[in-house]
């Protein structure tokens, strides 16, 4: 039996203290312990991006991150993106406006990557967006809409 590790971190601004098995991924802790099921499991191998969250402002695939490693850190998930009044973040609204989704399963990860793509300064040209959004698979093929949504939220026109 693996001994549990006390882990303290914040999720969407809320303090969390959990006794964790070191083998538990951040994704499974978010989904199975904290009820934050917006982050999705599509591969559990860091290959699809559906589980993307921000840790201390940087995007990570939460399925590959042992949850004990976020001790003392700040985690932001898709549930923490809209305003407290429910108002959509401009990127979320852009996803709706540009129909940047179909089944919706990859969408939380796409939004988290899109936020990071813009914050990293990688939304300056369409090819940059395509490249820096390519860690997030979308089997429905909503890529043109995702490109348009990130471009719009970055305040750019087509090109």
């Amino acid at each position: 039996m693996t001994s549990e590790v006390v882990t303290e971190f914040t999720v969407n601004g809320q303090a969390v203290r959990l006794d964790l098995d070191p083998r538990e991924s951040l994704l499974d802790v978010l989904r199975e312990r904290l009820g934050l099921t917006g982050s999705k499991k599509g591969c559990d191998h860091g290959q699809c991006g559906a589980c993307t969250v921000h840790v201390d402002g940087r995007r990570v695939v939460s399925c590959l991150l042992p949850a004990v490693q976020v001790n003392g850190r700040s985690v932001r998930t898709i549930e923490g993106v809209a305003g407290p009044d429910g108002a959509l973040h401009p990127l979320q609204q852009a996803f709706v406006d540009h129909d940047a989704l179909q089944c919706g399963y990859c969408t939380p990860g796409q939004v988290m990557s899109g936020l990071a793509c813009i914050a990293e300064g990688n939304a300056g040209a369409d090819d940059d967006i395509r490249e820096h959004m390519s860690g997030n698979l979308c089997r429905c093929g909503a890529y043109p809409g995702i490109l348009a949504a990130v471009r719009a939220a970055a305040g750019r026109r087509e090109g």
Binding site: V96, Q102, G104, M133, L137, G141
Partner: protein, 748 residues
């Protein structure tokens, strides 16, 4: 309740112009609020993980679970050593419910590598995963075959093995004689490899018992099949099974039937008295569900010197499992895409040691179109004709197979409009004639596609509420294709209320029975039922058959005139089925069995059509192919929901890029199974792989087919994308791809 077959009464009930309604459910999806099957987490939840066979075929001679059982937190290990009390569910295409007839965990037989041999259940997911890795199996291995040409395969003729009229070989005229007499001939073999659907949502969900009722939360395209199949497997009344699947994280055919993990999961939940969640590891999904089988096509085309088709012969071998035969309908479209007076089709099955292959988006039509549309490109070259002109000059009037009229056919309009949008007139005919200054070769290709329009039985119930809202409860599933948007749009448009005043419930067997949603028949079939239910609702509300309705006022008035109703709502139901379908089709739908009508209907045959135009760029050093631009124009009848319809076509183009250039499930004859069983090695397109995609629709309603004028779209959208890309690769390079995916080494 109305039970209508086809209300031809369309003039009295015109459809309002369709607005660009945003996707229903988008807000829930961008905020993470949408709840998929495995998002369900009831108190006391336990976790299951399967163990799978590492032998290619044989028998389990020993299964050691002692070490696994000793892992703290492990609750249960199910295997064939146990008596699970599970009956067969039957193969979905043989009056059953499951993707294959084999139910694992019932005996010691191993039919293919990757077959589940045990199910470990534990208090926590980490304990279940750890313990599953400690289960040891010994095998008595037998020789196996996983490739079409391997020793030990068995080939059977479809019309002998599956003696059903709609599966007989298509024979029109004397195709062999006409081919021999043709001055221009093409004779080539085309092949498409095995592929997997890989929807982003993993297979899995939660099984829990509420008393003697089994409740299943799992993403599926066929809640009715899960209900009926689990009832059959567990020996309980179907009314004691509830399947809840409001959002499905992509289906593409993978989730079109009962998967074999669910019955053991239900047994585990019952034994433990706890809900159990199972999310299959991605690697397992490559063997736990169906896949697109290998298909090999010999196509012979005969034409006169101008390229007018005189004969076509299309012979197909499709990979099968040892147990089940997936009914193949490749020649259904190749016999009809063009006006070919003499056609002969032949479809065979090659039995191999795999799980039963099945449906993956445009399961037969995508490979068939790759073969036919590539051959047609070869014919255009031989005839010295422009590929668009060649297709236009071979357009069909009536259906070449039955002689019946098409309900509607606008393939020529798709080709003409697409050529215009693409700028096809600028295309130089010779391969290799478009080259950029850095040496990049550019090629333009065209291909057409068709897909049968099928219709299934649907029950729709509308509840008009005192607050002015309308709730639509419909037998269907939302896999992302936009069915809820189309339904909400239809109700709102008919009653003249805002789309935000309409709630649509799909994917819930507690509310209405559910037929499988696949074959692109979801939207047209459910719209037909909703159309009929709206007429019934208007009658019950006492309002005219058309025009805006003040729902709140009408409900209040109806409550005053019929005090036996509680005044809170007025309910109307309609049950529709395809034209000419027998009443038994409705019984089958209620039982969760498949019951599609079409594409041959009493007075006509019905197909959707599409034309794709692709531009590829082939790098000069290593000839890597990139798709820089695609134009697609579809004839899907009336467009029920423009926003989601366009998304369906764009998404299908992305699928076609994957099919043409990267997706291939690799097999190793030494080991069996599929070896690239993850999302890093099974390569689907990413954002950077996708260039510009332009989508347009003919938009001509098909009121011959049904009163809504809607045909189908989700499948036809993929048909022809891959050959358009392959033909563009030929135009760029002069090398003819005859096998998918097209690899760099094919072009060296």
């Amino acid at each position: 309740m109305t039970d209508t077959e086809e209300s031809g009464d369309r003039t009295a009930h015109p459809w309002p112009p369709v607005e660009r309604t945003p996707r229903v459910g988008a807000r829930e999806k961008v905020t993470g609020a949408a709840r998929y099957g495995a998002d369900h987490a009831p108190p006391g939840l336990a976790y299951a993980i399967p163990v799978v066979a590492t032998a290619g075929k044989g028998r389990i001679t020993g299964l050691d679970t002692a070490e696994a059982a000793a892992v703290p937190g492990v609750l249960l290990i199910l295997s064939h050593l146990d008596d699970l009390g599970i009956a067969p569910a039957g193969y979905v295409m043989a009056d059953g419910y499951a993707f294959q007839s084999l139910q694992p965990l019932l005996d010691d037989r191993i039919a293919y590598r990757g077959q589940p041999i045990a199910l470990v259940v534990a208090d926590t997911l980490v304990a279940a995963v750890h313990a599953a890795g400690l289960v040891r199996a010994a095998y008595d291995e037998e020789p196996f075959a996983v490739e079409l040409d391997a020793a030990g395969t068995e080939t059977v003729l479809q019309e002998e093995a599956l003696p059903l009229p709609f599966l007989a070989d298509v024979v029109v005229g004397d195709a062999d004689g006409a081919y021999e007499r043709s001055p221009l001939r093409v004779d080539a073999v085309y092949e498409t490899g095995p592929q997997h659907q890989v929807p982003m949502e993993l297979i899995g969900g939660v099984a829990e018992w509420h008393g003697d009722t089994l409740v299943v939360h799992e993403g599926t395209q066929s809640a009715g099949a899960l209900r009926g199949g689990l009832a059959r497997q567990l020996g309980i009344d179907p009314d004691r099974v509830q399947v809840i699947t409001p959002y499905v994280g992509g289906g593409f055919g993978q989730k079109n039937s009962l998967q074999p993990h669910l019955a053991p999961l239900a047994v585990a939940a019952r034994r433990l008295g706890r809900p159990v969640k199972l999310v299959l590891p991605r690697a397992h999904t490559f063997h736990a569900a169906s896949f697109r089988p290998v298909s090999r096509h010999r196509v012979r085309l005969g034409a006169d010197r101008s390229g007018r088709l005189l004969a076509a012969i299309h012979e197909v071998d499709q990979q099968a499992s040892r147990r089940d035969l997936l009914p193949a309908t490749y020649t259904e479209i190749t016999s009809r895409l063009y006006g070919i007076s003499s056609f002969r089709g032949r479809q065979r099955h090659v039995r191999t040691d795999v799980q039963t292959p099945g449906y993956m988006r445009a399961p037969f039509e995508h490979p068939a179109a790759f073969a036919l549309e590539s051959a047609l490109d070869e014919l255009a070259c031989a005839a010295g004709r422009d590929p668009v002109e060649l297709r236009l000059s071979n357009d069909a009037g009536a259906d070449p197979v039955t002689g019946k009229p098409f309900s509607s056919r606008h393939l020529a309009a798709c080709l003409r409009r697409g050529a215009e949008l693409f700028g096809w007139a600028e295309r130089p005919p010779d391969p290799g004639s478009m080259r950029e200054t850095d040496g990049t070769l550019v090629g333009w290709g065209v291909a057409a596609g068709a897909y049968p329009v099928m219709t299934v039985p649907v029950l729709a119930r509308l509840r008009a509420r005192a607050d002015g809202r309308v709730l639509a409860e419909v037998g269907g599933h939302e896999m992302g294709q936009g069915i809820t948007t189309a339904l909400a749009r239809a109700v709102a448009g008919d009653l003249g209320i805002g789309v935000d005043r309409v709630d649509v419930v799909v994917g819930d067997t507690r509310v209405v029975p559910h037929h499988l949603t696949a074959g692109a028949w979801g939207t047209n079939s459910t719209l037909l039922a909703v159309h009929a239910a709206l007429l019934e609702l208007r009658a019950r509300l006492g309002v005219p058959r058309e025009g805006p309705v003040d729902v709140a006022a009408a409900v209040a008035a109806a409550g005053r005139s019929a005090p036996e109703q509680d005044g809170a709502e007025v309910v109307a139901e309609a049950l529709t089925k395809g034209p000419g379908q027998p009443p038994e089709a409705v019984d089958r739908m209620r039982a969760g069995l498949v019951a599609p009508a079409g594409p041959e209907y009493p007075g006509h045959v019905a197909f959707s059509f599409i034309a794709h135009f692709a531009e590829v760029r082939v790098a000069p050093a290593a000839p890597r192919v990139r798709v820089s631009r695609v134009v697609s124009v579809a004839d899907c009848g009336r467009v029920a929901s423009p926003v989601t319809a366009e998304a369906q076509v764009r998404g299908a183009v992305v699928w076609g890029i994957g099919a043409a250039l990267s997706e291939h499930s690799e097999v190793d004859p030494r080991f069996g199974g599929f070896v690239n069983a993850d999302l890093a090695d099974y390569v689907i397109p990413v954002n950077a792989d996708v260039g510009r995609i332009e989508v347009a629709f003919v938009g001509e309603p098909d009121f011959t087919l049904n009163p809504t004028g809607v045909k189908t779209l989700g499948e036809v959208a993929l048909v022809g994308v891959a050959p358009a890309i392959a033909n563009a690769v030929f135009h760029a390079t002069g090398r003819r791809p005859r096998s998918l995916p097209i690899r760099v080494e094919d072009l060296l």
